[in-house]
Every structure is written in structure tokens, then in C-alpha cells.
Symmetry: C2
Subunit: 189 residues, 2 copies
């Protein structure tokens, strides 16, 4: 039994500083206003709780993404729109997350800003620390980022405002989605 | 921001066969009927997803309970009534789960049936396999179960029906709960 029919995973992937968390906050607010149950799984926060036992080596990153994918699925199954804000640099890990969720209910959003722009923002000072060699395996600097090949949505956040990014996601959710086989459904009315 | 004010964790602990999953299902149905968002984290199901990398050794059980506690907290924070159905045999692990959630929003329910009754039911044939030595570290047979010392609710499921057990939990949720300091709130109206 599902609480509502809106349950899905909106997976925001992109470099640190690309705007994932800001878009997630804006989107959650917009969805709650529409009366839709929504929550955010933020990579930084989950690292302090569910994934506090993991570091940043490739296997640990893989396990981090796997767990968050499983939790996102639990939320989606409960009828909740689960917004994931997570660098999730490897395509194969994102594919694993996608595969746990019902077809049409996993929306990969590529939050795409050039690394120069992300680095200029550098609100948390992470790029500076990474360039100085004080932060190991930092995505985009000393660890790879594999851009999504076929994301459902791509947001060029060097040009697009947060508000417009949120609107683009909401517009997508209003379109009919293709489920398993020939079934179509809408995540938002 | 919270979706609703009902967010909490209802933690059903007890032996295999004590009735945790049946009570969880009945409770979820009742809550959804009341228009309250609810979901179940079932130990058996989570073992196939989020915790598929874990076995039944004491450290693995501990990690299993820790992860489920963290996920339950995420649900509660999102305003959802998260029903956990999990043997969770160690008091210290349940205490860890409790400590992650806001005061008054963790309701420990001791689903208490004598092991003889659980063993007689044995719907999954697990006790038989454990007695035959084909299932290692089985709670109540070859691994300990530490009963809760001060559970919020205790259900003697050898005498109480599922329906009555569910009613007892609902009644508890309608009482004023003590939050941090002097704050009181109600989980159900």
C-alpha cells in the first residue's frame, strides 16, 4: 500500500558547489507547498549519520551511494518524493541506485556547472583545501566525475537560477512517465 | 521544516514469531486510515536491501540496528510515523537508536510472547532449523535476547490479538508526550 502516488527519487548529481543542496531545498519547499510529501537525503548530512562509518575511497564511496539509493527507494515506496543531493561521481553507482526503483520513478538530474564556476563559489573552502593537497580524493580535482550520459534533466546552473532549476524539475514531474511495459503515470497532477 | 507533526519512531522489538510484522502491518493500515503518513522498516526486508552486506554476528547485528535506527530517524524527521519491526536483541543497540531521535518521538514497544508460543507458531520454520543447529546465532535459541527494561509499551501477544495490540499503540500516541525540557506534544490528535 502506498501513502500517495507521488513516490519517486529525484537524484541530483554534480560537482561540489554545483548547486545540488540549494536546488534540493527549493524543490522540497515547492513540493510541500503543493501538498506533496517530500524529503531530502543530503550527502553531507548522511555522512554524519547512516554512513558515518565510511570514508572517501572508491569502495566506500560506492557503499555510500548504495546505501543512500536503498534509503531513497524506501522513501519512494512509502509514497514520498525523495530528493537526493549527492555528488555520486560514478555512473555505475548511480545506475545501481536507479535499478532499485520502479521504472519511471527515478529521475536523474545532472546539476551541471563548469568546475571553474564551482571552484569560484567554493563556499565551504573545499576546492582550496583540495588544490593545496589537504583534501584527498576530491571529486573534480583529485578524483574523477563521470557525467551522466542520459539524465532525465540537465540543469546548467552557471546560467540557470535556483528558482528556474526548480521549475524545470516540477515541469518534468508533471509530464506522463513511462512505467513498466506500456503503463504511464504522472508524478504530479 | 516538517511535513507533519506526527513524525516518530515506533520500535517493535521481540523474538522471531512474537508478532512484530503483523502488528506493524495492522498499525500502518490504521494510521493511513487516519490520514497519517506511515511506513514500515521490516528487519527481514531491509536485510535484502540496505543491509544486504551484513550477517548475524554481534558486530553485524549492531551495525544492522544502527543503520535501521538512522533511517528511522530520517523518516521521523520527514514527518512520517516510521514503524520498525526488528528483533533488535541488544538493549544497548536499541538505546543507540533511541538516542538519535528527538525526545518523546521514540516509542519502544516490547512485543512479548513466551518463546514456547513463538516456537509453536514458527511460521517460517526458523526455530526448527535453529534447534537442529542449521541456523547459527538464532535469537532465543543460540543467541541472547535482552528484554527492554522500560519500554513505552509492552504487548503480551500470547494473550492480546493483533487488533488490540494496534489499539494499544494508537492510544499511546494520543497521549501527550514529553519533549525536550518542559515541552509537551501529541503525536496523534
Amino acid at each position: 500500500m502506498k501513502n500517495t502516488n507521488a513516490g519517486c527519487v529525484i537524484w541530483l548529481t554534480g560537482l561540489s558547489g554545483s548547486g545540488k543542496s540549494s536546488i534540493a531545498s527549493g524543490l522540497k519547499r515547492a513540493l510541500l507547498k503543493l501538498g506533496k510529501p517530500a524529503c531530502i537525503l543530503d550527502g553531507d548530512k548522511v555522512r554524519r549519520g547512516l554512513c558515518s562509518d565510511l570514508a572517501f575511497s572508491p569502495p566506500d564511496r560506492k557503499e555510500n551511494v548504495r546505501r543512500i539509493g536503498e534509503v531513497a527507494k524506501l522513501f519512494a515506496d512509502a509514497g514520498i518524493i525523495c530528493i537526493v543531493a549527492l555528488i555520486s561521481p560514478y555512473g555505475s553507482d548511480r545506475q545501481t541506485a536507479r535499478s532499485t526503483v520502479e521504472a519511471g520513478r527515478f529521475i536523474e538530474v545532472y546539476v551541471n556547472a563548469p568546475i571553474e564556476v564551482c571552484e569560484q563559489r567554493d563556499r565551504k573552502g573545499l576546492y582550496a583545501r583540495a588544490r593545496a593537497g589537504r583534501l584527498k580524493a576530491f571529486t573534480g580535482v583529485s578524483a574523477p566525475y563521470e557525467p551522466p550520459e542520459k539524465p532525465e534533466i540537465e540543469l546548467h546552473t552557471d546560467k540557470l537560477t535556483i528558482t528556474k532549476s526548480v521549475t524545470k524539475i516540477l515541469d518534468y514531474l508533471k509530464k506522463p512517465a513511462r512505467g513498466k511495459g506500456a503503463g504511464f503515470f504522472r508524478l504530479l497532477p
